[in-house]
Amino acid sequence: MAEPKTKNHLWLHVSLITFTMLALYPVFWVLALSFSGQQSVGLIDLPKDPSFFERLRGILPFPAHWSVKNYVEVWTEQQFGRWLWNSVVISAMTTLLGVFLACTAAYAFSRFRFPGRNTGMLMFLVSQMFPGTLMLIPLFIIIVKQLQLGNTYIGLVIVYATTSIPFCVWMLKGYFDTIPYDIEESAIIDGASRLTIFWRIILPLAKPAIAITALFSFMTAWNEFILASVFMESEANYTAPVGLRFFVGGFSSQWGFFAAGSVIVSLPVVALFLQLQKYLISGLTAGSVK
């Protein structure tokens, strides 16, 4: 679409930059802490009766000394690389499984009219309503005691995928609803099977939605720590968030290590988002296939 008047969006940029800076302020603190080489958050050092600028300098998140010591320590002290890899595998599998199951279910909810449809949708929503804090022991009974899936990737993947499915189903159903039904009708007339339609028409059209649900599923598995530490029985099978938690909790908290670890752990998410961005933008809009 050709914009008739090319604006330079000056004010938009100004406000976006301001907002981004504000939004990133806590992130800067995390970064500053991670590069400080220290374990505690730096305090604002002010003289008596500080002036405006002295205060301003005080609140800027810059470490007094730059050092990558925290990063080196985090990476070498424990098998952090291995844990990161475990996390990648578990989260990737969760994403695949979760999005696949959610796509099929959401497609049915969007395109078929069948008894139990509303109840089914409500069931998925309902599953999000029971507070998770008391779920640990029943989940342990199912996964570790009954299914004997303790200390395996698959045990965690199953739990994470089912945790993310309700969201994915609800979101995808919403998106599928916006895709006009006449596209499918004409395909059916052309003799295409349901599966072909689902695979060749609906999924490509729903790319932005799938990208978002994929990101969501990935995040669900990526940051979870308590189930991962309870289900895994050997250090080699831990995930990155479990590794991170070693630095805090109990008596001592090495926040510098934790910050450095957090930054490392966040990088794959950022990378994934960069990858998914292009689907967010170039997801074929309904208009182009009309």
């Binding site: 939004a23 279910a105 929503l125 507070p131 804090t133 199912i142 089912t162 919403g174 978002i212 926040w255």
Partner: protein, 642 residues
């Protein structure tokens, strides 16, 4: 008329199915009750003997104890063996090969531990002035063979444990002539017969045949249950009689031997027939007479447990019957056949959910009807059942505020206060999340805006970094003296705020943190939805002279709705249960005023160890959200287009 047609038109399927279900469930429940009664009876007989034995050796020296125990065992063949353990010593044993007295062997550690356990139980019951720990331990090794362990006293003081192996073979009063299967079978047959001759008219709301079907069903079901209840009562009466007989025989034996002079006047309490806390049951008097009030009490207690279950069974099976005779079952089956495709698509996700979400769920709800705490976790489930007590306690406590001389003082521990905070918390957060996310998405969706990709990536960072550390940073930012926010306030000449001291300012800290964490998600979702709106719609609108506002109002918002509504519904549910932020940032300060329902449930479970009460709290949270979800989907369904 052929058979298939007949099956369809008559009530035989409906009556058959519901009757079968009712009888199977009923029989199963009564069987369980009966088995439980029998077990109790065996335990009671064993405990009676053991109590008597302990009393008989209470005031004797070690040698006399040994010989007396030996004597009693020889006189009573039901007693297989008796040992007495004191500390690490095996003080007495009726088995010669044990070679008592001697020190305990390495593999006899469980005896030593058991002795400590029972001593602790006794001390705890006394020290806390609350009877909550069993001082009698019973184990049934094989059916009829029981091992009873209880405190061995010397001069009224705890001196060790006495363990008795007891054989109760033949103690079952009704023997193993367990209820025959014939009766329920005849009843089922009767129901089937009745069903065959009833012609249904599914299209009519009420007709005679339906009424008759329901009548027949209820009649048979209730008759059967009444018969079973009477049988249970009969067993209890017989049990009491046999215990009384046993008691009298034993007492005479004691009298004869001159071991123990029993006060057998009707006024004194029977100290032999006790429960596992060594409290007299009050069913049999010291003179061996059966107490009718005690018996009635005993039965009322048992009925209190199984009556609700019977009601549930009756309701369920009646519902099955109605489904059949009103034709829902047939229609449901037809619909299932017709929509098999859709069910196949949904099945994988649904099965996963059923196993991993609804089981824990059922576990939690079942827990909420008990009084489970850390201290009684190991008791059997039915001993912990208390019905709706927890819910009554949570919902029925209206002590939300008090009038004090300084005005109204709120009771922050009250459920309704927490509920109000939670609702405010949810509404504020979702509003902030959606509006900030929407504004940013709109801004980032502007055509020709440079650096979109950079903004997008930077703005999801709050979501990407583990919230555990950002929550800490936010907490630090609100520190009254060293926090950034107060520094900024002072930069502009304002007074610093003590953020965690006031109810509202502490609430604000949570909202700020959570808003910051949740806007990226909303932004991404809305951005995705905006992408799926065809651009030519805007062009067409622009050509027709629609203003910016009109385009937003009539194109963007309606087209965002299908994705925005689910996102809002879900984020309401999540925010309602957002544990981390409250827990990590304000910790519910000041004084628990900013606790939300989930953090409260967590504290009840893991600080106060009242697991069942916490489960009830969680169930209430669930019910509130369920009602919300129900109405929300009702409203959206009305506007849903296809």
């Amino acid at each position: 008329m052929n058979l298939a047609e007949h099956l369809k038109r008559s009530a035989v399927l409906g009556l058959g199915f519901s009757m079968l279900l009712s009888l199977v469930l009923g029989t199963w429940m009564f069987r369980a009750e009966e088995n439980d009664l029998r077990l109790q009876q065996r335990q009671r007989l064993a405990v009676l003997r053991a109590n008597a034995l302990v009393l008989a050796v209470a005031d004797t020296d070690a040698a006399a104890t040994r010989s007396r125990v030996q004597e009693m065992q020889e006189l009573n063949p039901q007693i297989e063996s008796v040992i007495i353990v004191a500390g690490t010593q095996l003080l007495a044993s009726t088995r010669a090969e044990d070679g008592a007295p001697r020190a305990l062997k390495r593999e006899e550690k469980p005896l030593y531990d058991l002795s400590n356990l029972i001593r602790t139980a006794r001390e705890t019951n006394r020290g806390e002035e609350v009877v909550r720990k069993k001082t009698v331990q019973i184990e049934e090794t094989t059916r009829g063979h029981l091992v009873v362990t209880l405190p061995y006293l010397s001069g009224g003081e705890y001196a060790g444990i006495l363990q008795m192996k007891f054989n109760t073979a033949g103690a079952d009063t009704l023997g193993d002539k367990a209820d025959s299967i014939a009766l329920p079978l005849w009843m089922l047959l009767a129901a089937l017969l009745a069903g065959t001759f009833l012609r249904l008219h599914p299209e009519k709301k009420i007709d005679l045949s339906k009424l008759i079907a329901i009548g027949v069903f209820l009649l048979i079901a209730l008759l059967y249950q009444q018969q079973r209840i009477e049988r249970l009562e009969q067993i209890e009466v017989q049990d009491n009689q046999s215990v009384a007989a046993d008691y009298l025989a034993l007492a005479q034996q004691y009298d004869r031997l001159g071991i123990l002079s029993l006060a057998r006047d009707p006024a004194s309490v029977n100290r032999w027939d006790t429960d596992q806390y060594q409290r007299p049951l009050g069913l049999i008097g010291a003179d061996g007479r059966i107490s009718t009030e005690g018996q009635a009490r005993q039965f009322a207690k048992r009925a209190g447990l199984f009556k609700p279950i019977l009601w549930a069974i009756n309701l369920l099976t009646a519902a099955v019957l109605l489904m059949f005779i009103y034709g829902y079952a047939a229609r449901g089956y037809a619909a299932f056949r017709k929509n098999i495709d859709a069910y196949i698509y949904v099945a994988p996700a649904m099965i996963g959910m059923l196993v991993l979400v609804f089981f824990p769920f059922a576990y939690g709800i079942a827990l909420s009807f008990t009084d489970t705490t850390l201290y009684n976790e190991s008791l059997p489930f039915q001993d912990r059942l208390i019905g709706f007590e927890n819910f009554r306690h949570i919902l029925g406590d209206f002590n939300v505020y008090q009038h004090t001389p300084d005005g109204i003082s709120w009771n922050y521990q009250n459920f309704y206060w927490t509920l109000m905070v939670t609702v405010m918390w949810t509404v504020t957060n979702v509003t902030i999340g959606v509006s900030v996310g929407f504004l940013l998405a709109m801004a980032l969706n502007t055509d020709g805006l440079r650096g979109k990709a950079v903004y997008r990536v930077l703005l999801i960072l709050p979501w990407a970094i583990p919230n555990y550390i950002t929550a800490l940073v936010w907490r630090g930012m609100f520190h009254p003296q060293f926090g950034v926010i107060n520094q900024v306030l002072q930069m502009f000449g304002m007074e610093p705020v003590a953020w965690f001291d006031g109810v509202f300012s502490a609430f604000f800290t949570g909202v700020a943190t959570n808003g910051w964490l949740s806007f990226p998600f909303m932004m991404v979702v809305i951005l995705g939805a905006l992408q799926s709106i065809p651009k030519d719609m805007y062009e067409a609108a622009e050509v027709e002279g629609a203003s910016r506002w009109q385009r937003l109002r009539f194109i963007t918002l309606p087209l965002l709705k299908p994705t925005l509504i689910p996102a809002i519904v879900l984020s309401v549910v999540w925010t309602f249960n957002m544990f981390n932020i409250i827990f990590l940032v304000s910790g519910g300060e000041p004084g628990g005023a900013n606790e939300i329902l989930v953090t409260k449930a967590y504290k009840i479970a893991f600080e106060n160890y009242q697991y069942a009460y916490a489960a009830a709290y969680s169930t209430v949270i669930f019910m509130i959200l369920l009602v919300y979800g129900f109405f929300q989907t009702r409203i959206t369904k009305a506007t849903e287009s296809f």
